[in-house]
């Protein structure tokens, strides 16, 4: 069990109050309806196959501007290399967007939207329209400052918000694709992690995945 990210979000919200409990419940109900509609076409677990990439951002917790800015953030936190899929390939932002629409992390959504706007404002001081349009070297420079808490004129818990985005990026890369990221299991493949057995509840003892998981039945 590791609750570090949720606890970190609670610490951030303490300094940058988020949504009320009622707001979260309403948002969760709204998102559940959306997800249910989308999932009617689900074909067995690859979550967001028809969303996020070509049809524009799905309506999760983020507005379109924040969605594009934070997508670029995830892509720099975990960039792709020739033999390693990155956050963008794995559609981590789809995961992030969904998580930010439901409890518990919906509470930190206002702080992350504020962060996205602040990153775009930084980009404008560097002559770009938005963070995502900065050259990656400059994106990295901005993120490096954020990670150390040294972006100027920004009254947000910078270091903590960087850590929240970092944690969300790792989760979106390596969590089961049913949650929206790890597209086509690209995160699992990148680290050589075999598809787990029993990915969904209720499948019982015989419900091992197609590869039989990595059980060692006396082998």
């Amino acid at each position: 069990m590791d609750r570090a990210l949720v606890d970190l979000a609670a610490a951030v919200v303490r300094r940058h109050p988020g949504l009320s409990r009622r707001d979260v419940l309403e948002l969760a109900a709204f998102t559940a309806t959306l997800v249910a509609c989308r999932d009617k076409r689900r074909d067995g677990g690859e979550g967001s196959a028809s969303s996020g990439g070509t049809t524009g951002p799905p309506r999760g917790g983020l507005d379109p501007t924040a969605y594009h800015t934070l997508e670029a953030v995830t892509a720099r936190i975990l960039p792709a290399t020739t033999d390693f899929a990155g956050a963008r390939d794995a559609r981590v932002i789809t995961y992030v967007d969904r998580q930010l629409a439901v409890a518990p992390l919906a509470r930190v959504t206002p702080a992350l939207m504020a962060l996205a706007r602040a990153l775009d404002a930084q980009a404008r001081t560097r002559g770009a329209q938005a963070f995502a349009e900065l050259p990656v070297v400059e994106q990295d420079d901005v993120l490096g400052q954020l990670s150390r808490g040294t972006l100027p004129d920004l009254a947000l818990p910078q270091r903590e918000l960087f850590r929240v985005m970092h944690g969300l990026t790792l989760e979106g890369f390596l969590a089961d694709p049913v949650h929206g990221g790890n597209h086509e299991q690209r995160g699992w493949k990148a680290i050589g992690f075999p598809e787990p057995s029993l990915r969904t509840p209720g499948a019982g003892h015989d419900g091992h995945g197609p590869h039989g998981g990595h059980g060692g039945h006396g082998g």
Partner: protein, 536 residues
């Protein structure tokens, strides 16, 4: 807020003989003993009753969100660690579901040593009355250990253990070759080592299936009931007696007493927030040491003793990771072999217990740990990619965790926070956590010893992890047994001084917990205490 105008009675007719609050290591064992002895018993559990089929292998859903513990936004504990300001956190919660923390536990099952039950005698007046002896003879506890190991199913080889005991009911679980690598290193260093007994079934046992080595064990619930949680073992046996009424999603908010102080029943809220009252001749408190103390304080009970919430014992933690480059004789080629998830070895010395084991099957957690750089920002960008490749593809790891004896002291305690209320409107627990200097010193020595073993085992690198840390799932001491009210909250029979009929049967009752994981001790002591209630 809950409806309070009309208090509904318990849906079941009549009073119970016994009401148990909580269903984890302590509550589950208590419920077993009570129903075995013919008492009509109601168990009130705050969380849901999962079935085996509810468990699945999704790290995010099971291990990282609110499947097991409440969110800190809704039901925080306020924790102040080592002098830092108190903040809201999930730390301090033990799993809220039928079976409690035993559902997702690692399941290492250690007995306390006789000398560990005599902290007062050993330490003398050094700690100003904080350290006391158990008011229980070791032999009595040993008999309860014998019984509980056989009831829940513990796998291991008793002949290899450092303290003589009778045979365990099941042969040891199968091991990854990594365990042999550690065993050889221990031998080279002249340290005795053994495979830790584990509450996982190495063979079919009492109608339950053997472990199928899926690897999704610690942090997860077992879909085949092969982990010996109280849900899979003791509570099923209790249900089979016909004497058990199990009420999940029942939040106890108050323990009631009559004018003489005798416990008469509990008030709890059902899922819709409707308050109900359930009465019983014996009320058995087993909500986990932090929440049990909180409930006593919310109920205004035993406050005069001055001991409720004090003497908090947590697990004293240090961690290290040994990194072994691939290919490696024990771990295989690039990517590593993944069969046999368990590869474990234990060293026990005067400072405590050191356990070497393979990382749990939790890729997000592993990646998060790999990216950590102390207080500096975590690794990101190209450095993170390189690190993930190293951790998952180019090396394999053996983890080392140590458990020192956590000496209770005045600076480690549970109180009610007057200013913060949870979503139920109840004052939350404020936990002050700190380690006694002797605990910290022993923990650091254990860490150094563990690092030596990893290095001797041929680790290319030993990475120190946590130093002076806490295992929050291991909690004890906050309503401890003592020979009199001067020293604690309850007597050797678990009954609270001044409140006949009220018993403590979880970690809270332990005056000391020993230098090893103490889940088995909580179970054994609860069995011992509850096994006497029918006689009174």
């Amino acid at each position: 807020m809950a409806a309070t105008a009309a208090m509904a009675g318990d849906p079941a007719e009549g009073a119970f003989d016994a009401v148990v609050i909580g269903s984890g290591a302590g509550g589950g064992a208590a419920a077993f003993a009570l129903t075995r002895d013919g008492l009509r018993t109601c168990v009130l559990e705050k969380g849901p009753h999962h079935q085996d089929g509810d468990f699945f292998h999704d790290e995010l859903a099971i291990a990282r969100r609110s499947f097991f513990v409440p969110d800190p936004f809704e039901e925080p504990n306020l924790v102040a660690r080592d002098g830092a300001a108190a903040g809201p956190t999930s730390d301090g919660w033990i799993s809220c579901c039928v079976g409690g923390g035993t559902v997702h536990m690692m399941g290492w099952m250690f007995r306390m040593l006789a000398k560990e039950m005599a902290l007062g005698t050993r330490a003398g007046a050094r700690a100003g009355g904080e350290l006391i002896d158990w008011p229980v003879e070791y032999d009595e506890l040993a008999r309860a250990y014998d019984e509980i190991e056989d009831l829940v199913g513990v796998s291991g080889d008793a002949a290899t253990l450092p303290v003589a005991q009778r045979a365990l009911p099941l042969l040891p679980i199968a091991q990854h070759p990594a365990a042999g690598v550690i065993a050889e290193a221990c031998t080279r260093l002249g340290r005795a080592s053994f495979q830790p007994p584990r509450a996982i079934l190495s063979a079919a046992f009492r109608g339950r299936a053997a472990c199928h080595y899926c690897g999704f064990c610690a942090g997860y619930g077992c879909e085949t009931g092969s982990k010996s949680s109280t849900m899979a073992s003791l509570l099923r046996a209790a249900a089979a007696t016909g004497k058990l009424t199990l009420r999940p999603r029942a939040l106890v908010v108050r323990i009631e007493t009559d004018a003489s102080g005798r416990a008469t029943g509990v008030v709890w809220r059902d899922e819709r927030g409707v308050e109900r009252r359930t009465t019983g001749r014996a009320i058995v408190l087993a909500a986990g040491a932090i929440q049990s103390a909180r409930l006593l304080m919310l109920s205004g009970l035993a406050a005069d003793s001055g001991h409720v919430g004090r003497h908090l014992i947590l697990g004293a933690q240090s961690t290290s990771t040994g990194v072994f480059a691939l290919p490696h004789p024990a771990f295989g080629e690039r990517g590593g072999r993944r069969d046999f998830p368990f590869g474990e070895r234990t060293v026990r010395n005067g400072d405590g217990t050191t356990i070497f084991f393979l990382p749990t099957t939790s890729p997000i957690f592993t990646a998060e740990q790999a990216a950590k750089q102390g207080d500096d920002p975590p690794l990101w960008g190209a450095a993170l990619v390189a690190r993930l490749k190293e951790v998952f593809l180019e090396t394999r790891q053996i983890e080392c965790e140590t458990f020192a004896d956590f000496l209770p002291h005045a600076g480690c305690k549970v109180e009610l926070d007057g200013a913060t209320r949870d979503r139920h409107g109840l004052a939350v627990a404020r936990v002050t956590a700190a380690q006694h200097p002797d605990t910290r010193a022993a923990s650091d020595r254990l860490a150094a010893g563990g690092d030596e073993v990893l290095a001797s085992a041929g680790a290319n690198r030993v990475e120190p992890g946590v130093r002076g840390g806490y295992y929050w799932f291991l909690q004890a001491g906050t309503a401890r047994m003592a020979t009199s009210a001067d020293g604690g909250v309850c007597g050797a029979d678990g009954q609270v001084f001044g409140h006949p009929g009220l018993y403590i049967a979880d970690g809270a009752a332990l005056p000391s917990a020993g230098a090893a994981p103490f889940t088995l001790t909580i179970m054994a002591n609860a069995l011992r205490i509850a096994g006497r209630i029918a006689l009174t």
